[in-house]
Amino acid sequence: MNSENNLRTGDWALLCQALDEALRTMTGLELDWVTSPSAEVTRTTYAGMMVLAAERPSLLLIRASQSTARMIFSYMTGEEPDSLGDKELADGLCELVNMVAGDVKSKRTGTEAAFELTPPVSVQGDGLFFRGKTGTRVEQVAAADAELSLSMSLFVL
């Protein structure tokens, strides 16, 4: 275990794998992820987040622009993108973050790196910024192009 926190080095990789698997299984989407040096994503419209509760907790955050969220959950539900409202899109991000964190929790239960999960929370709004205070370790991957904006961040608090 990392002496500074309860997040094992491999946990971030597991979270990334879980996100990939969730999107591939439920939408058929294969995304090209890049490690983002910054935790600031300006086009965020919806975010789902939950705390990985351990001795040193972490905040897991998955965020998407409205068009990206509509695309993902339209693929997932088979419904027209425009038929999905704020409630469904925000809920979808919560469900996605729940699946990703739940997958890694299952793998860590019974080990030194076990953690609990809080219920997910959604945030919605244009131009949302999420910043960790100085000293907060942040991991982030993002998939973004002209039409797509999706990212996952982990703030080790």
Binding site: E21, G78, D91, G92, C94, M99, G102, K105, S106
Partner: protein, 135 residues
């Protein structure tokens, strides 16, 4: 299950496998996704509940063939809801569908009589295969 033979009684062999399904999950997006998958496979979603308490009440009034049950929900969680349903209806068929798949939760689900345990994420095949197991 008794109602699973509804199609036979009506003489439609293609309805032989048709199930009446109750979905219990606090996520609207999961309701939509499951409904799409189940209806496309010829099953009927007879009810939607947003928490375990509603799920127990709807089970009483609808008597579905199969229940898809989440675990983490407000008011009453899925484990408690299955316990309540099975206490009165031991033959109830329940598929637990949750993001949490660690051994402790699986053991809890088994202890209250869950028939099939599925971990999210899921695809259509996983859902329809689980239903087929209960035939």
């Amino acid at each position: 299950m008794d109602n699973g033979c509804l199609g036979r009684a009506k003489g439609g062999t293609d309805l032989l496998m048709k199930k009446r399904v109750l979905i219990v999950d606090d996520s609207p997006i999961v309701h939509r996704l499951l409904r799409k998958t189940l209806e496309a496979a010829g099953h009927e979603v007879v009810g939607d509940a947003n928490n375990g308490r509603e799920g127990v009440d709807l089970y009483e009034s609808l008597r579905p063939d199969v229940v898809f049950m989440d675990i983490t929900m407000p008011k009453m969680d899925g484990i408690q809801a299955v316990q309540a349903i099975k206490a009165k209806h031991p033959a109830a068929r329940v598929i637990m569908l949750t993001a949490m798949g660690d051994e402790q939760i699986v053991a809890q689900a088994q202890a209250v009589g869950v028939d099939v345990f599925l971990k999210k994420p899921f695809d259509d095949y996983k859902i329809i295969s689980a239903l087929a197991k209960l035939v």
